[in-house]
């Protein structure tokens, strides 16, 4: 036992691990924060519940008008409710969930102010004999509001509950937003944990001259890096396990495909980002530059790799590039294992590519690595 505890690799792993777990902030950002994010986003996009759409209504009655009230206002007063300057109406539907439409009666100037602040998504110009809609067609929420309003004015509120037999709501596991989200968060956890935990630690210790002090001893350089990667990997396993445990207990998330394939891919993802992290931290001793380099690596991938929303919204020519980003490969493969029942045969290519990226980056990083 003494031989093991006196060994430099054991001591290095223990030191790196102690540094991680003795820092409460590290535990918060590594473990608690991803769970909070899964919980928040999972709740926000999964619960069917009610939808709320808010609009501004501007009444235009000129002297030549013979009627004293506007068209939509008359309809809302008959079918909905009015309190102060606010009209509301509820469109009921058991399968789609209810929609609450709220209209704030106001002036043009104020209506534009509310639109700019995002308080409303659409302005209704209401006249005694006509109604016009002012909105940005690129705004999906405004478009939905317009279509609902357009149908409402043509067919009345019953349209929303018509043809119910053709709607089959999917509540199967694997098709909910949270099923899309959890594998993505697990993939992102690997990237974030490696890039900050490995790269930043190396840059910080280089800047404090600790690396230089260590290589002035008979320490094996490879042991230092191996220990750093091992401690980080252990932490990543704990972080992923806790996030999965939460998702399993709270959202009923389950792995429909192969567990060995999932584990192999998890290891391959860790190898990929450990290698990349060594490469990007191989030179600089300035933590601020390091900060920039790490952000330049992780931010674009976080945006385009489809962690929170599908990357198929990006232009077609970008898709083949996005699909070969390490983070996308991990997230896509995780999703196919979690939700589509994929096995080892479906993801071995990704696992191989990720392992190769990690190995090549590691070797390259080690070749140009500056210890002082």
């Amino acid at each position: 036992m003494n031989r093991i505890t006196n060994h430099q690799l054991y001591r290095l792993i223990a030191a790196h691990f102690a540094e991680i777990i003795r820092e409460p902030a590290v535990l918060f950002w590594g473990i608690v924060f991803p769970i909070l994010m899964a919980w928040g986003l999972g709740i926000a996009f999964t619960q069917k519940g009610e939808t709320h759409l808010k609009m501004a209504i501007v009444k235009t009655i000129t002297a030549s008008d013979t009627l004293k009230e506007t068209k939509l206002a008359v309809y809302l007063l008959t079918n909905g409710t009015k309190k102060d300057n606010t009209y509301s109406i509820v469109l009921k539907n058991e399968k789609l969930g209810d929609v609450n439409l709220t209209f704030f009666e106001t002036s043009w100037a104020n209506a534009f102010k509310m639109l700019k602040k995002g308080q409303v998504s659409l302005i209704v110009e209401d006249k005694p004999d006509d109604t016009k809609y002012h909105f940005d067609p690129a705004n999906a929420e405004a478009k939905t509001a317009y279509q609902l309003m357009s149908n409402l004015s043509s067919y009345g509120s019953a349209f929303y509950n018509a043809n119910q037999s053709c709607i089959e709501p999917l509540t199967l596991k694997g098709t909910r937003y949270v099923d899309f989200l959890i594998p993505g968060l697990l993939a992102m956890g690997i990237m974030m944990s490696c890039s900050w935990g490995i790269s930043y630690t190396i840059i910080d210790r280089r800047s404090k001259k600790l690396l230089r002090r260590m290589v002035a001893t008979p320490m094996r350089k490879s042991n230092f890096l191996l220990a750093l990667i091992t401690a980080r990997f252990t932490m990543n396993v704990a972080e992923a396990a806790l996030l999965f445990l939460f998702a399993w207990l709270y959202f009923g998330t389950s792995v429909q495909g192969s567990w060995p394939a999932l584990i192999a891919l998890f290891i391959a993802g860790n190898i990929a980002f450990s290698g990349i992290s060594i490469l990007i931290s191989s030179h600089t001793a300035n933590p601020e530059i390091g900060n920039g380099i790490i952000n330049a690596l992780v931010t674009p991938m976080m945006v385009v790799s489809g962690i929170f929303f599908s990357y198929h919204n990006f232009p077609d020519w970008t898709i083949p590039i996005i699909q070969y980003l390490p983070l996308t490969m991990i997230a896509d493969s995780f999703r196919s294992i979690f939700n589509e029942g994929a096995g080892f045969l479906d993801v071995w290519r990704e696992a191989l590519v990720l392992t190769s990226i990690g190995t090549v980056s590691f070797i390259l990083g080690l070749k140009i690595f500056k210890w002082y």
């Binding site: 006196n6 430099q8 540094e19 404090k208 230089r212 002035a216 001893t217 008979p218 320490m219």
Partner: protein, 245 residues
């Protein structure tokens, strides 16, 4: 005295960085058990010279022997012979002093007995369980010194080991070093801004400026140059500057 009696033997070493010639042909010898101070203002070339002896920089010209061996072919053996303390090294904040020492001990395949001995030597036994970031400046320097002497080095290279410490903490470090000299016949190469450190500790003093050695010898010997009363006066005459500039 044969060449092998010198623990450090620097022969006509030169080193340039881009346009700056940092060390311009320096020769220096340190005997076993000898304490040598390297004094010089900032930019004198002290650190470059010490880094070449440490094996971190390679000379453009000239040779360096440590116990008759060169860095090129004897890296592993030379790491075992040398102990060093760098200016401003910061150990891992969240490790205890004891864990830090055990970590460095493991690089030399040493066990907890040697670690306990060193804690006694540096008088930091009551702080074993304190995190490094909770130690005072003086305690951190003693820890750095402890790490430097773990492997019972034949030569200690200390880069400004007492800079920023109060007089008490400085004296504590000096006493540890003198004990080491008495008990283990350790050699020391020390760079310093403090004249009294050189006077109190060292057998020989070497004054460097602009990459060359301006004077070297025992305190009495070098004071005879120009009949100066103090090292401060001599330093100003030789370099035209105060040492702390």
């Amino acid at each position: 005295m044969t060449e092998l009696d010198y623990i450090v033997d620097v022969r006509n070493v030169k080193k340039s960085f881009k346009d700056v010639q940092a060390v311009k042909g320096v020769s220096l010898r340190i005997e076993q058990g000898e304490f040598l101070a390297l004094l010089g203002p900032n930019g004198a070339g002290k650190t470059t010279l010490v880094e070449m002896i440490e094996g971190i920089q390679h000379p453009d010209e000239g040779e360096i022997f440590i116990e008759g061996k060169q860095w090129k072919n004897h890296q592993h053996e030379l790491h075992q012979l040398i102990g060093l303390s760098l200016q401003e090294t910061r150990f891992m904040d969240k490790l205890t002093a004891y864990e830090t020492m055990r970590l460095f001990a493991s690089f030399y395949k040493l066990d907890s007995r040697r670690v306990d001995e060193v804690f006694k030597l540096i008088g930091l036994e009551e702080k074993k369980k304190s995190y490094v970031n909770n130690l005072s400046g003086g305690q951190r320097q003693r820890l750095a010194l402890g790490v430097a002497v773990l492997n019972k080095p034949k030569i200690l290279l200390l880069d400004e080991p007492t800079t920023g410490l109060d007089p008490n903490a400085r004296h504590e470090i000096w006493n540890i070093l003198l004990d080491l000299k008495k008990e283990q016949n350790t050699s020391l190469l020390l760079t310093s801004h403090y004249m009294e450190e050189a006077e109190y500790l060292c057998d020989r003093i070497v004054i460097m400026d602009q990459g060359t050695i301006l004077a070297g010898g025992t305190l009495e010997e070098i004071l005879k140059i120009g009949g100066h009363r103090s090292l401060d006066e001599l330093f100003i005459t030789l370099t035209g500057r105060h040492i702390y500039e």
